[in-house]
Symmetry: C2
Subunit: 366 residues, 2 copies
């Protein structure tokens, strides 16, 4: 059972601050450390509301740990949270950032699951990863192997997990089956290509036409994409050629919406499932009744944040997924998306770049 979803959910923030900073701390208030953090106290444009502040940290209690943040991405969803347009919003004052990797530097006396030096990532959205240090419950973290790259660890918890779950949870895919996706050049799309290739599943990858199209086609093929087509190709004989070689897709993945998703829909196999996880075109998918009635297409949605909450009580599923993905990173089958590393002090550039272009992920280095 999925938990009920309200249009705006207040997240349980792990901002642990002196009195007046919210209800979440039950720990001793011996202030022994402080951290730099990107704080916002109301919603608005990031340039207007996000400020770097020096914040005191509470002492580590019996069941908590202190971690030094090593790297944290700036994702579009983080910006939407700052703007107040995302469906979950942390209480004010809030620290930005939902994803990132930290190193455990102090461990409460009651903790056995984490050790000094462990790399950890947050379990839930709303952690507030844009800071140099944090103190939080050990239960709010899971470990990541230290033998993968720092950037791989910092970016493993959202996009590769989204790709992994969508390939696992909706259709039983076997080697030789086909998946079709739009937005194939997105971070999730690239993870889909690589994870599907590791599963022996064929991918048909839809991109928008662009001046450097063939460069991108080659890049995606080098990751394991079987076919890379444009939205125009979806209406041409190109698709017939492809379906002479591979079966029609049992699974479609849609992060675009609008006409693009409508075209994708028309190429699905009978009884297939279309999973929507984004709506970049900001237009509704036009859904003709015939696909539902006569082709028995099933339309579902996926939201990683909700999945993590649904599985909050038993972290073994999340930990085992991160383990499996780390294995793919280690073996070279899954590479982190191209990214730009930015010193923490230059955070304004990283935030601005994320708003103006989604091409490369910006990673803050603490």
């Amino acid at each position: 059972m999925r938990k009920a979803f309200n249009s705006v959910i207040q997240v349980r923030a792990c901002v642990l601050e002196p009195r007046g900073w919210g209800p979440c701390s039950a720990w001793t208030r011996r202030l022994t450390h402080s951290c730099s953090a990107l704080v916002y106290r109301w919603h608005g444009a990031h340039s207007d509301v996000v400020r770097m502040e020096e914040l005191p940290l509470p002492a580590v209690g019996q069941n908590s740990v202190r971690l030094k943040m090593l790297a944290a991405p700036v994702n579009p969803a983080d910006i939407n949270m700052v703007q107040g347009t995302y469906p979950i919003l942390p209480p004010f004052p809030a620290i930005g950032g939902n994803e990132g990797v930290g190193e455990v530097v102090e461990v409460g006396s009651g903790i056995t699951s984490l050790s000094l030096g462990d790399w950890v990532i947050p379990v839930d959205a709303g952690f507030g990863t844009w800071r140099t240090e944090a103190v939080c419950d050990a239960d709010d973290l899971i470990t990541v192997p230290k033998d993968i790259s720092l950037l791989g660890a910092a970016t493993i918890g959202v996009n590769p997990c989204t790709a992994y779950r969508m390939l696992q949870d909706f259709v039983h895919l076997r080697p030789g089956n086909t998946v079709i996706q739009n937005g194939a050049n997105s971070a999730v799309g690239q993870a889909v290509i690589q994870i599907a290739a590791a599963m022996g599943v064929k991918t048909i990858n839809i991109i928008r036409d662009r001046p450097n199209r063939w460069e991108l086609v080659e890049e995606l093929k080098s990751m394991g994409a079987d076919y890379v087509v444009t939205e125009e190709d979806l209406q041409s004989s190109e698709m017939e050629k492809i379906f002479k070689d591979v079966p029609k897709p049992k699974l479609g993945l849609n992060c675009v919406g609008g006409q693009s998703a409508g075209l994708l829909l028309s190429h699905l196999d009978n009884g297939a499932t279309l999973v929507t996880y984004g709506g970049m075109a900001k237009k509704p998918l036009p859904l003709p009744a015939k696909f539902l009635i006569f082709k028995n297409i099933n339309l579902r949605g996926f939201w990683m944040t909700q999945w993590k909450r649904n599985n909050r009580e038993d972290l073994t599923l999340l930990q085992s997924m991160v383990g499996a993905l780390s294995g793919l990173v280690r073996s070279g089958q899954l590479s982190p998306s191209p990214c730009v590393q930015v010193p923490f002090s230059l955070y304004r550039q990283a935030l601005e770049a994320t708003v103006s272009s989604h091409q490369r992920k910006h990673i803050l280095l603490m």
Copy 2:
């Protein structure tokens, strides 16, 4: 597993005719009876292509029966089949009609499941019910109790079955739960109202505004409809009032599509399922990504014809559903849709009336 669906499926016709009439008869060709039937030999407007013909019937074999058709509806899908626009089409020459009730008048020596005098309805679409008599495999028929009305028996196999399955197969509904549907005045819609009421499930029923609106509202309420609203009401405070009294719907039923279905979608509960079984507006449903991603709405389709084929090998599920629905008819909880009875010889009027208006079902009496 659902069987694969092709864009046009050739149905296994039960037209049993002399050589040259198709491949389906393995029976002895002693011709002992004949029947009148509404035959078409190519697709087109019903007035151009459907003709009453006198056809010879094969003798009854060991595993077959002869039945006298008593009553058969003219449904919009029958007309679409004649036009060649329906996704399943019988081979030519074809006899029209997919639904109806017959009485067994001759039984093959190997048959134990049927007796003389039994009322029977076809298991599958494409039977060709617009005829006075038929000879077919006993396996192509199931029985209907004779203590319900003839019109109830003639119309039980498609629309009430559609309503029943949609209320049973997608969401586990409990008394007090809510279902919302558009096209509430359709034959399926009226069956939904009555079956849901018998289940203790609340219904919110959407109709188009019309001059005799309050008359229709009262009619649907007398069937058990809890709320009857117009498409305009869906955008007004009317819905807030309703949701003070009943929970948000876990199940939505859509036979309209277009903006109407989009409005219906916005009133579903988180995690609800929208089942589409028709597209009367002939416009795609505009589907915003947020309903899939953040409200976890699941969109499915339902087609009674396919369901019957999926369950073709084991008829107990179909027989028990017809038994349950007959029970509701017997107890007065489910009434056949209003219908006009037309003598078989006046079939042209019945076909024409079905094309020009869907308000009342036209039933051919043989």
